[in-house]
Amino acid sequence: MELFMILKIENLSAGFDKNQILKNISFNVPKGKIVALVGNSGCGKTVTGLSVMGLLKWYGGSTSDGEILYNYNGNTVDITKLSEVELEKIRGSEISMIFQNPQSSLNPIMKIGSQLEEVLKKDNQNISQSDAKDIIYDRFKAVGLYDADRIYNSYPFQLSGGMCQRIMISMCLLSSPSLIIADEPTTFLDCATEAQILTILKNINLKNKCSIIFITHNLKLALEFADNIVVMNNGEIVESGEISEIFNSPKHPFTIRLLNSIY
């Protein structure tokens, strides 16, 4: 695999039992770039994200064919062939995922602080309470949460959706992954918060050189935010390329229809 690639999906097919969702898709994620996965509902965007995390079997699905090659410190590993134990090592510390609904992504009966600490202690068991707190407060600042003390001691339902999504992002940042899969991270948020969250993700992308797969149904957002775009329809990739290509000379009728729907 080329050195500048972080993820390479080749001829991937996946689905649930008889229901084939992904049909032979291939695309690449270069290091340090944001790749937007655009398509209408049910076209397999989330399934792609879950396959990369090795989480598809959580929903009873499986990858039937193809490879998901991940650049693990210079070594190429195929995620579809890893065992659950090996996947646990990669999840979080290498690839992390942010979900649609931020408030239901946090355990309602655990304080935010202890949830974040748990993630931190996963990699570093001997870390002291105060060190952990410092690191967490630092990450809070990175995602624009300045009321750190209160948030640290709050339960998820005491905070707004935007705050919870920032917390989810800061949780991802704790183990500094090389790839973040953001699965419609702003769908449940209002426009202003949406813009803030995207700015935060962009900053992380620039600062940490972390690649992002940005899953969205909103082509407009993708055009503003991403470097590359992959357009999906019905479990197939209809077109992919850099933003300027897609925007200036769309080839597939579906892409043209998506573009026309923006303005």
Binding site: L55, G92, F99, N101, S105, I109, M110, E118, K122, Y155
Partner: protein, 308 residues
């Protein structure tokens, strides 16, 4: 107070002390616990100490009935020295009620603890790992549920009598069996709840940030199942006390002269006691009733507060 119920994000999120019935249940439960475990510390007479009478003066301790003029002080009506009187063998009813309470309550608590522990572990395993583990555990539960528990307990109880096991230890067999059969119900409830919690997005999110299986089960799933377990246990306490009393009443529990509420009621098998000496059997029955009532009220209150 005790419980930040709102933290479960499910129930009405109210302080459980706002419900008068629950408060009544808690007070009643505490009173019974104090009565059984604290009061005996201040009384010099033992559980099966027999009171004698000689020339109108009451004696306690080791006496031989061959001594002239000495009699067992039996069927004493309630008086100042014996607030609830004495039974046929000259033993003080009130003292026996206290020691009987110790047996009933500790049997109930130990049983519930074991039952909850076994049921929770099995339920978590079945619910979380699914597939073959689930199939194996749940079919086992089904099979055990098909076995009528009462006959099995009765048979085992008579077996232990035949093998001359220390009567004090017989009670542990009871505990183990009631707990084993009860654990099957807990397993079902816990499994169902785990299946639901497992599908929640926060468990998926925890997996996605790399939380390990063990931690996920212990730190994320178990605390979310706790309300159900607590409620089941609280209502279960009442059930175990009733079972234990019923078994003791039938003579399969703790044998006389050891005291237990169940075997104190056995006195009604003597018709004259039933008719003339209500002070012997009524208090034990009332205590069983009140104890079960108290735990059911607490369980109901917790249920309202925790899961609505």
């Amino acid at each position: 107070m005790l419980w930040r119920t709102h933290a479960f994000g499910l129930g009405r999120g109210e302080n459980i002390l706002h419900d008068k019935r629950t408060v009544f249940g808690i007070v009643l439960g505490l009173a019974i616990i104090i009565f059984s475990f604290v009061c005996p510390l201040f009384i010099s007479h033992g559980e099966y100490e027999i009171f004698y009478i000689k020339d109108g003066i009451e004696l306690s301790g080791d006496y031989s009935l061959t001594e002239k003029g000495i009699k067992i002080n039996s069927f004493v009506p309630p008086t100042a020295s014996h607030p609830l009187g004495t039974d046929k063998e000259g033993r003080d009813i009130l003292i026996r009620l206290m020691y009987g309470g110790q047996i009933s309550l500790s049997v109930a608590f130990i049983t519930i603890l074991l039952e909850g522990l076994l049921g929770t572990v099995l339920g978590l395993l079945a619910g979380y790992f699914g597939r073959r583990t689930d199939e194996l555990i749940m079919r086992f539960v089904d099979v055990v549920n098909c076995i009528p528990d009462l006959p099995v307990i009765l048979i085992l109880s008579s077996l232990t009598t035949n093998f001359s096991v220390n009567p004090r230890h017989k009670i542990y067999n009871l505990v183990a069996l009631i707990a084993f059969f009860g654990a099957m119900k807990v397993t079902r409830v816990v499994r169902g709840q785990v299946l639901y919690i497992k599908e929640q997005e926060y468990i998926l999110a925890a997996t996605a940030v790399g939380i390990g299986t063990y931690r996920k089960i212990i730190r994320h799933i178990l605390p979310n199942v706790m309300p159900q377990i607590i409620i089941m246990s609280m209502t279960g306490v009442g059930f175990v006390i009733l079972t234990e009393s019923a078994l003791s009443f039938l003579g399969f529990g703790l044998p006389y002269p050891y005291a237990s509420w169940g075997n104190m009621i056995t006195a009604v098998s003597d018709f004259s006691v039933l008719a003339k000496h209500a002070n012997i059997w009524f208090p034990a029955g009332a205590l069983i009733f009140l104890t079960v009532l108290s735990f059911n009220l607490i369980g109901e209150g917790l249920k309202e507060a925790l899961i609505g």
